[in-house]
Amino acid sequence: MKELKILYLYPDILELYGDFGNIQILKYRLEKRGIKANIIRYSIGDEAPDFKDYDLVFAGGGADQEQSILAEDLIKYKDNIKEAVDSGVFFLLICGAYQLFGKYYKGVEGNVIPGLDVFPYYTEAINDRKKRCIGNIVIDVNLNGKETKVIGFGNHGGQTYDVDTPFGKVLYGNGNKFGDDNEGFFLKNVIATYLHGPLLSKNPELTDFIIKYSLDRKYNEDTVLEPLDDTFENLCRKQLLNRFLTETKNNP
């Protein structure tokens, strides 16, 4: 039986916006195809993981206060994480985790939380604590030459700068900054984004892209994924794309 080894980072801390759903969806789509989802959870106090041992690493977003507690812990693995990224392990990073993998995060009071510095972007909070990029988001994404629309929900105060390789073009809602055309950060084996929802819940094509990449890399083959019944997902996408993209046209 094939399996993917998934490292789920700080499940008890980075769990505020339902991002745990991404793990459930990955597991669901793997198991439906007879592939084992071997999910290993890591949090503060657990034995140190070797990131290179995994096929996929996932981390979500959390409460501001708790995020600074774990930043100190994560930074211990900086070099190991860099090696894993370079060796092609897939990283899916949402919101707070997206920020932590950059150079730094500068808070409202000017306090700087150093990031892992794995990627070249950095994030700074807006001075006004009440101003946050909140709302539904639709972005245009190119997955290995295939254009698809990705639907999610953003809720972040930090504005992320210096992203050269964004995840997608914003069609509706906010991007890396207020009114930004670009959303997220994208490499062949890294998706870092502000999209909750959870991200994978309404984007089965994206989920399968991540699964296929991880299987291809692990088994050194060109995996053909068995199609699944995505009736609900397709109905949901149709409804929401119609709603959000028509709204944009009406309220440019």
Partner: protein
């Protein structure tokens, strides 16, 4: 003089509203507050003022406290309809005061939105504050729960009247230390119940000690993060208990406090907590045990808060659930019931609900007990269908309908017992569709 005229005009407006058959909600308060934001100072109160705040359970606890006092023959003024922001509370006061601002009552009992406690009671006396729980709730509207707690904590630093706190919620119990000189802090708790777990079953807050940031240790969880906790580093969590709910029997709907058995109309651990808070609160006013017993044996809510009715002859239980814990509490009741049942989940994403529906992924849909079919509806009918499917529930037994009428018609094609969960703006349209 100015306040006199504001009240006079509001009284006239209230009469006009009544003639037009309108209830008014928080309209009067909105107008009056805009006119004079310091109007709260003007009222003359000669009776105890009690306030209840929490993420979940405000309406129920508030109304039950008022009901106990009424059962004792007291005159109670209360915002029983759930208008719980400063304008809603002001509306209630305006309707019940004289032109000179006197409020004639034996007790004022208010449910107050978590964010508005400092706003309302900055200029208004407060005799007892009851705090039940804090959960994540509509993050895109309210922000993180921590900022709300900090606001209330700040207010409590200079407050020294009665404070009734849930000892089993680390984010509530911490408020007892806001003013170390306050001798009037009363903690309530409930003994471990049959479905308590050693692992946390549902999403919750308060993983770390609010005082020293050490990870909290739990002996058990009752639901969400409510349970017996302790900080292994600084010892936080060991508070003296004023009222303890014991021998919780959800099947027979009874529990005990101080050896007295209370027969109640509710069957969830969450309500046992609320009612223990009620007993703690009214005990501070020397209410007779027999009065409390009588009141609690009759008290029900008919507004979609665990409302038990028959629809088209079919037993139906309806509950409002606007956040993960509200939904998880409903599903606990459903799972503790072995009978065959069908579930309707109505999920909207209107402004009052919050646009973000990702909180449905914090609902624990695992291993639903004897649920033969699930119908979903609301503006996010497909989102909730995807959520339930991913939890492992058979997709062939899930029927999503964007149209609520269609959903209800299909739900009642069978006469199997129904559980209905609806979020904020979905609740009243759903009740209407059920002809309630």
């Amino acid at each position: 003089m100015r306040n006199f005229f504001i009240i006079l005009i509001m009284k006239i407006l209230n009469v006009i509203l009544k003639i037009c058959g309108k209830h008014g909600g928080n309209f009067l308060g909105k107008v009056a507050y805009k006119w004079n934001p310091k109007i709260f100072k003007y009222f003359k109160v000669n009776c105890p003022v009690i306030a209840v705040t929490a993420t979940n359970g405000k309406t129920m606890t508030n109304n039950a406290i008022g009901y106990v006092f009424k059962t004792a023959g007291k005159k109670v003024v209360s915002n029983t309809e759930g208008n719980n922001m400063e304008t809603g509370i002001l509306s209630t006061i305006l309707k019940n005061c004289t032109l000179t601002g006197k409020i004639k009552a034996d007790y004022l009992v208010f449910e107050v939105d978590e964010g508005y406690v400092p706003v309302v009671f900055k200029d208004f006396p407060l005799d007892t504050l009851v705090v039940l729980d804090f959960f994540r709730d509509q993050l895109d509207r309210n922000g993180e729960v921590e900022s709300l707690i900090l606001k209330i904590n700040e207010f409590l630093k200079t407050y020294s009247n009665n404070l009734v706190l849930n000892a089993d919620d680390p984010n509530v119990a911490r408020l007892g230390k806001a003013n170390p000189d306050n001798k009037n802090v009363y903690y309530f708790s409930v003994d471990k119940y049959d479905f308590a777990t050693t692992e946390q079953k549902e999403a919750g807050e308060g993983k770390f000690c609010p005082f020293c940031k050490t990870r909290l240790e739990y002996e058990y969880y009752q639901y969400s993060h409510i349970g017996k906790f302790k900080c292994p580093n600084c010892g936080y969590g060991d508070n003296p208990i004023y009222k303890l709910g014991t021998e919780v029997d959800l099947k027979n709907r009874t529990f005990k406090v101080d050896g007295v058995t209370y027969k109640i109309r509710f069957n969830s651990i969450y309500n046992i907590y609320n009612l223990t808070a009620v007993i703690a609160c009214v005990s501070l006013y020397n209410m007779d045990t027999d009065v409390i017993k009588e009141a609690l044996s009759k008290f029900v809510l008919n507004n979609g808060r665990l409302e038990e009715v028959k629809v088209r002859g079919v037993p139906t239980i309806i509950n409002l659930a606007k956040n993960p814990t509200g939904s998880n509490v409903s599903l606990r009741i459903l799972n503790e019931d072995d009978e065959e049942k069908e579930l309707l989940f109505v999920l909207n994403d209107n402004i009052a609900d919050g646009f973000d529906v990702s909180w449905i992924w914090d609902i624990n849909f695992d291993n639903l007990n004897n649920v033969s079919r699930i119908v979903t509806s609301g503006t996010r009918a497909y989102d909730i269908a995807i959520r339930i499917k991913t939890s492992g529930y058979d997709a062939n037994k899930i029927e999503p309908y964007l149209d609520l009428h269609e959903a209800v018609e299909n739900l009642y094609k069978t006469d199997v017992k129904k559980y209905v969960i609806a979020n904020y703006t979905a609740l009243q349209p759903t009740r209407k569709e059920l002809k309630l």
